[in-house]
Symmetry: D2
Subunit: 340 residues, 4 copies
């Protein structure tokens, strides 16, 4: 790390900073410029860096402390140069095949979920999505059917030979959700819910960490690091749009996060164009953009009757639309050297 | 609510929307313009509006649905025209007196916390802040001393006659934290952690809901609504900065949120200039700005030796600085018609 | 437009608003709800709406005024359902063929520009980009060679049979730049420089309006409306990234703006992945994403020796990289039903 | 500046970077860490730094280049430790006295401007604001009366003994506007209109540079640097809100920019709470906050009949409200050690 001393820092203050660094056991390399002194600290391990940086930044004689290495280790591509492939009970996420995850936003009824699941399966999806616990901005919105929904999802998925991805919001429910789900989804609002991240780090069920709508890529990878550090190596990421000033779309999808994550990390990255845009009419174009940019998976909301949906109908595709859309996608997948 | 039909919506589609609205039991008032038809729905209660709006937005013949009333009820000033004063075991938050909450970012040791608390008490603070469970972006940063820290906080506060505010992150810890704390703080990262919000809605201990760094004022008030709806009327808000493109400050403090909340809601609003700026040198100016804008309380990080702090030393004031700063603040408080 | 009266607005105030609207010659349709009165105004033409909305919003008895129709006319797809194809002296922008615009960020020397142009031409580009007047955040950065650069661009483009796109920043230079350029580029910083927009509305040379880094899609289309209203029908748009909190990329590319613009407007839309990402390593992935999402053109920085570039070398592709990248792009273009 | 080499950079690449730096005439201080090499370059003057940093960032063997010193010189407090006081024909901006600038958003008629000006003068304002050239998002909005408005402003201001501040948008109008105005306002949309900045750098009339709604403080100070570098030392800044995701207010006022600018620069800083909030009901609270935070001036929209205003009536105070508001402000000004 690089410590930039404040203008006018005294020789004594510079000495004091150097002493702190050597006391921690690291090498000190000062550069005395005309207007500022800069001190390089060599050999500081990842696990201590955040703490030491904060500690030096607190000194009034220090202007800023700059970290050179990435603030995550297990999530970094340097740690694991090959891209990770997660085995979701036989269905891979990562690698050449693009994982197609689809289903209703929320499990409302058995019939609706089954109808959606059948259409998704017919289109090629092998992972069924569906909300049992729903985060809603308004306390007056539908909050999900909980364990009943989990049972339906499991039952329907098993009958079709699909895997289940569903969100877990409460650390107390992790064990319960693990009984029914094949992938645990950490929603955007919970990306920095550390107790939840620690809890899903204790199990072996694969975890999808959705990007916080306010989160820099670096913070998102640190959220993944929480899970990895807990001992669960099966982590995938999901770009679902960030919050900006634009109001035409519900969020602004950061498609450049796909190649960015690919160069920074070995973890698979999935795209959610339904939440990302909030508009049915934009989902197909963004699905195609995501595949072209290198996404490892797609998470898409499909509803047999969006106009009767309890949640997010405006961004759900109809079952009639979804199948042909995937057919139109296949040639694109192929020229990208992937399979579906 | 106002339903804007898409251009080219057919007479049949317009009828269908009108029928849905009347089936829900509400009045229908269509306006047929040259290019668009707009349908007013009258009598839709708050508790159903979010659901019905989503349901109509899902129709492809609908361009947008506009809510006219605020999407919260118990948090609104219309519901409770008088400003709320929360009684924190004899210390008011809300009303004429500005509540001064101060202490270390994190409880590190008994001695450090005591030294900070004594200085804060001497300066006039009657509520002691201090982190026992710390949310940290990096899993390698210090995460807090947990229950040991809670005990120290309680013990020190009692010895000085202070109240305790501290963060609760995990719904499983709400009962535990209630045993030691007088105000439960919901941190910025957990503003939409609904299981946690529901849990603190079940107790009577006052709750401070910090603004999510990505949250619109309307969403923040809906988070408060979760707690109020759960049955806990003792909710205060805290503005602590939002995330923008500016990098000089850690967050961008939205001072205009103070008068905005005052016109929209009856809940007391506290300002956190330490987290809001992330820079010690800006804390005093922002404290003054907050008081001038009408804040009901201040939450300030004070550390006896910021350069030895384990967390956020760069934004902590020294104990030596804090007392005189509060003295300088008093004339300002007075001309604003408040007391400290 | 829809006028939402404030809670507690008196009968007299409601009458007054209704009278204003009928005095302007429009129809009035009030809806009296339990808590709010809402007044629909029918027949307000685009050209007057902005003014009348502002005027009603100024009344203290009015809570908000909601525009139903888009605040632009000539730029809207409703006005011109077919997508526009602009003829740049025989090279189309819009339509089936994707327009490839490439060249150096800035014209530095004749040799550098020629080397870049030849490589771009060989790869299939028929429109040469290059900066003669450069907007630079720092007054100490290189500001461009001005007319000398324009001459070089023209000369090199003519020798290869290419068209020229270059930025014009100063309304006083529009005539001069028109002498050399085939497309006038309005840079991101000048998207709301109305005197410049009016000036380029007076000529017939095609104009590319880059999105302001702070601009909503609706505001961007209003900027295009300024040019169209001036009488120049040859307007194309360019998405080049917006400003968000993310710092890994220079801007956040809003790929969803491509299909969004396609549904709102008939104007062709070009993508600039070089400015959009600010990182050479992300340009290819974003180029592919843009084509998959439906972009009508690509604007890419190519430099023979980026390490010797005076401006933006970090985001420029090398001439060696560019040709093979376009070859890899061709199958993708084809499966999207386009040509290059 | 600090050059961080990419992981795996070869000895040869490191040598090449060192050679470039020494060829420019600067000192080289390499630090060889376990995972990265970092090279400090000492003695690089401000005027060359931007160029050299860009040039090194373009190398694929370089991960990033970090500037240590601020990218502006004449605007920095280091260059000019005392706060600057600008003499606007006898009315100071900067220093102990807070400059009160008020008047209508736009000059509509002589009578309206006079009525507003008289009320502002009576309340203590000595600088009259009023728009002659109005930047409007919509080409259908009122664009200002141009020179006729300038004449009215001058005439009314002279009759009352006031100074005039008004916006100049077009570099061709700088000379014209200088004939009537005492302060040239650069609007938020033109903060990076460099031809305009250069033009107002050629005159001696004081210039107010409003912050771009997308601009970091550092970029804003570089915009001021353009004017200062041109030879005009009379530059003041104006915080008028930045663009964020919040929609309740028109912009988010960054009050922390006031103390931040004070520590970084010697230039006076004015606050515009009318544009900043877009809501009349928030103007007084934000005015008070700005004074408490240390603003050197206030720029406030006052209209005799906001409901008849052609522009921005929703954020204009009435003349009846303005006088008493300033009276209520005076005790606050006094306890802040300022005068009005």
């Amino acid at each position: 790390m690089i410590v930039v001393m404040a203008r006018g820092a005294t020789a004594e203050e510079i000495k004091d900073v150097e002493k702190r660094i050597t006391d921690w056991g690291y090498g000190v390399h000062p550069i005395y410029g005309a207007e500022r002194t800069v001190i390089g600290a060599v050999g500081v391990p990842e696990a201590d860096k955040a703490r030491y940086m904060e500690s030096l930044e607190a000194l009034s004689c220090v202007e800023q402390v700059i970290g050179i290495l990435r603030p995550y280790k297990f999530a970094s591509r340097e740690f694991h140069p090959e891209g990770t492939v997660i085995d979701v009970k036989g269905v891979p996420v990562g690698g050449k095949q693009i994982a197609l995850m689809a289903g209703p936003c929320t499990v409302e009824t058995y019939a609706q979920t089954l109808e959606s699941a059948e259409a998704c399966y017919a289109a090629g999806a092998r992972i069924l999505r569906g909300g049992a616990y729903k985060p809603s901005t308004s306390p007056y919105s539908f909050q999900g059917h909980g364990e009943d929904a989990l049972k339906m999802l499991r039952d329907i998925a098993d009958s079709l030979g699909m895997r289940v991805i569903t969100e877990v919001m409460d650390p107390r429910n992790v064990e319960l959700v693990c009984r029914y789900a094949d992938i645990l989804q950490i929603g955007t609002r919970n990306m920095q819910n550390y107790d939840l991240l620690r809890e899903v780090g204790q199990v072996k069920t694969p975890v999808m960490v959705k990007r916080g709508m306010w989160a820099k890529i670096e913070e998102w990878l640190q959220a993944a690091e929480y899970v990895l550090l807990g001992g669960n190596p099966n982590v995938m990421l999901c770009e679902r749009g960030i919050r900006t000033f634009e109001t035409y779309t519900r969020n602004t999808m950061d498609i450049s996060a796909i190649p960015a994550v690919k160069e920074l990390s070995h973890l698979p990255i999935v795209l959610d164009p339904s939440q990302g845009t909030g508009r049915r009419s934009l989902v197909e174009a963004m699905t195609r953009a995501g595949v072209a940019a290198g996404a490892d998976g797609l998470l898409i909301e499909v509803h047999p009757h969006p106009d009767q949906a309890l949640k997010d109908g405006a961004q759900s595709l109809t079952t009639e639309y979804f199948g042909p859309m995937i057919e139109r996608l296949k040639p694109l997948v192929e020229v990208c050297g992937r399979t579906l």
